[in-house]
Symmetry: C4
Subunit: 273 residues, 4 copies
């Protein structure tokens, strides 16, 4: 009977198929979003001054609920140890640990650090990824283009290093280019067209080099976009085509729902799988 | 005879086919653009000081004209109630209401609020969308890519939340990162390469994380562009298909070079042109 | 004999085929670039202080040379009046007029205005477009996508108007949003991810709306890129394909250099044109 | 025996095939990255104050190692003179020269210049490109699109010149537009959506022109991206062709579904796999 009780709750907590499982999922997502909202709003000075106490209570309610959920997951799952070492097992414990630690280590001097730990609770949002099943195609496209992206980033970083060093030599510390790392930060900010404006070239030579750097960065922006688009378009085209060939005229490249060859009209063989 | 009068004006106001209907449309578009220009220019201090009175008179002329147009629409249309609750019915009334309310509520203390209400009059520009019939393909592409766009935005917002919280911890209030919401605003401004520069990292660790955030945002910029382009290219390719239908099974949407129906194998008719 | 002299110079000045014509073209391009460089450098205070006199002399040498060239063009061309009213006829005269006017109108009080007129001389660079024959494909793609681009810009401007008005209401003059036109300028700067940072939101509501505006603008950046890429890709694909069909098996869509059908091996008909 | 010794070391230093060669490559890459890290960190004031001496010693260790490597390369290679004049021969010597020069020219007054020379050592990173063999496709795509890119940049620069001159006339030196070159720098920063904000328009006319410039630049951003994507997609499609050759006429590069050679009509061999 204990086994049946466990199986029942396992379906509710881990399953997404039946009504009860979906309701639990929805409830959990809303609780995660609400707990993040509380943690985020608590850092706003005015909100903390007015609703600090409410936030504190809500914080503990969420922590207790998530702790209970975590313990339930360990109890109902078949191999608790495997779950605890899985990605979401670690995320689940990271989502409640900071608040519990703040209780134990609550000395006046550790207060700020604990507050920092509490913000880690936003990693609860990673739990949401569990519910996204559509991200696969995008992810696959990124994975397929990974070598091209790696080369692209190496090129960018080499350019950032060379341009950063040149700007450090030309402009120097008095114009904000205080070191090569700072210059490299500026080069990244500039080449990606972010352009904060906290550091800007003052000399004529510096402005000329900056113009060149920007135009190069501007051209390079085409590269990752082009890579990704070409890969995605190729992926979408492949998915929509049958790979079998017509037995009579040999024509391949038929549409997904084709039953007859569009060239000679012969019946196409059935696809297995 | 009243019916003929109504039908006559219905064609002028709601129709776009004959000369009179097109002239009315053109006149209305120009009136809308002119009334918006007046409302916009009235907020410029120098213009208000010099032409404030003229603007006030023009404002009332436009309001009276649009009110008359709205009443005419109600009178000539077959089902007035249905029109009034339609999107453009609500827009049409919103376009004149603020000025009328400013008359009723014109106390000295409400003056500023009324001015604000008057600016709502710019929603008249939404009336222009009535005349744009070409936007369909673009809109369709956006709709078809909506799931991918949703996932993309969820990813962006998760990254914004995590990076915002990290920058809040690293930089802190003294460098402008006063709260997590402010940090998230900064993360959005940075990841989208807007880069206002009102808040910028000061510490070395903050600058390093900023560089990382920018490069990630820079890579991600490829995603929505790629999605949209691939969808649009697929849509344009589909449009080039044959529009004729199979004589035997009625199947339409054949490929450009198809000679036989891909469903039943029957010969397709030759296209003339 | 005068006719032969004219024909000879017509070939040199207007022709691009033989050695003399190409040498003249090259000389003219270099003179145009040099004269622009002089006009540009003359506005730099330090350069003007040191080389102002040299710039003045060079300015007059270029003006005399371009005037002589303009007169020569009128003399050697068959229909001078038609040339003078052509685009490049007007550009050619605009390229020398400002300097000549500065001579006539050289009163001390007009000096600045004249200086301004002299800068118009940079329109000489438009002459360079005469030598660019490769821009056609890009231009054609832009022309073919013009309706989509028009709709896109209308949408952008409507959004700019609505968001500009909203930000004017939310932030108000004290935060830099002094009028709706200024707010619209800010909205354009923000939505296009330029982000100067001369005007930035200060209130929480303003920052939230700004985040929304940026994310919308960020999504919309995909639209013109996608349109252009899809059009260009379609244009490139069309150019590379033969449109004739195989007489034996009816297969269309052959490569540009194909002589035999790749399906049945039958000889393809020769293309006329 | 000296020849055998040379051949042995030639394989280690120049070869990438066997174990020893790959180990040497890996060691060299790590040494290059470490030496760049030292040179970069030495420009940070705090790091220089604390670890300046360590950096100095490490600097000399790397310089000695790279000098030894350079001499070894000259000794073991067959035609030393050809290597020394090759691209990587020059890079290899540039990577050690600055530190050696700092020894000879170490007068107190040359100190800053020498420091500058030492930074040139970062060109060592160019050595890394030797190990990147995957960059070919990207590079090829850029090369194939070079004419289009050239026209694109000419257009951009013409627009930058015209808009820069116009903004100089409209805004003038008192608003930061001190000269046409500065205005052109601003136009590049603005049109590429970098937008530092160090120079911004103050007048209404200037803001209107800026909005126009931004929208034009925003449209133009679609051009290089579109060119690159279309070229890359075309390149990827080409790659999917059959690599086998026709047995009769030797023609390669057939389409994926080709059964007959499109040149001579002979049957193509079946592909195995």
């Amino acid at each position: 009977m204990g086994a049946r009780w466990r199986a029942h709750w396992f379906h509710i907590i881990f399953g997404h198929e039946d009504m009860a499982g979906r309701r639990f999922d929805l409830l959990l997502i809303m609780a995660i979003l609400a707990s993040i909202a509380v943690a985020v709003m608590d850092t706003v000075a005015q909100a903390h001054a007015r609703y600090g106490k409410t936030f504190y209570v809500l914080e503990w309610i969420f922590t207790l609920a998530f702790t209970l959920e975590y313990l339930m997951r360990i109890v109902v799952v078949d191999r608790p140890w495997r779950y605890m070492r899985s990605f979401f097992g670690i995320v689940d414990v990271l989502a409640v640990l900071p608040t519990w630690i703040s209780l134990v280590a609550a000395g006046s001097q550790y207060l700020l650090v604990v507050r920092a730990l509490r913000i880690l609770r936003i990693f609860r949002i990673l739990k949401l990824t569990r519910y996204v099943g559509e991200a696969d195609l995008l992810w696959l496209t990124l994975v397929r283009a990974r070598r091209k992206i790696l080369i692209f980033f190496s090129t960018i970083l080499t350019l950032v290093l060379i341009f950063g060093a040149l700007m450090y030599l030309i402009e120097g510390p008095e114009d904000g280019f205080t070191s090569i790392p700072t210059s490299m930060y500026w080069a990244i900010v500039t080449m990606t067209t972010v352009g904060f404006g906290d550091i800007t070239p003052k000399t004529i030579l510096g402005k000329m080099l900056t113009s060149l750097i920007i135009l190069i960065g501007y051209s390079i922006i085409a590269v990752p976009t082009g890579i990704f688009t070409a890969e995605l378009a190729a992926g979408m085209r492949t998915k929509k085509r049958k790979l079998m060939s017509c037995a009579r005229c040999g024509r391949t490249d038929h549409e997904d729902d084709a039953r007859h060859c569009r060239m000679c009209g012969a019946k196409l063989p059935l696809e297995s799988g």
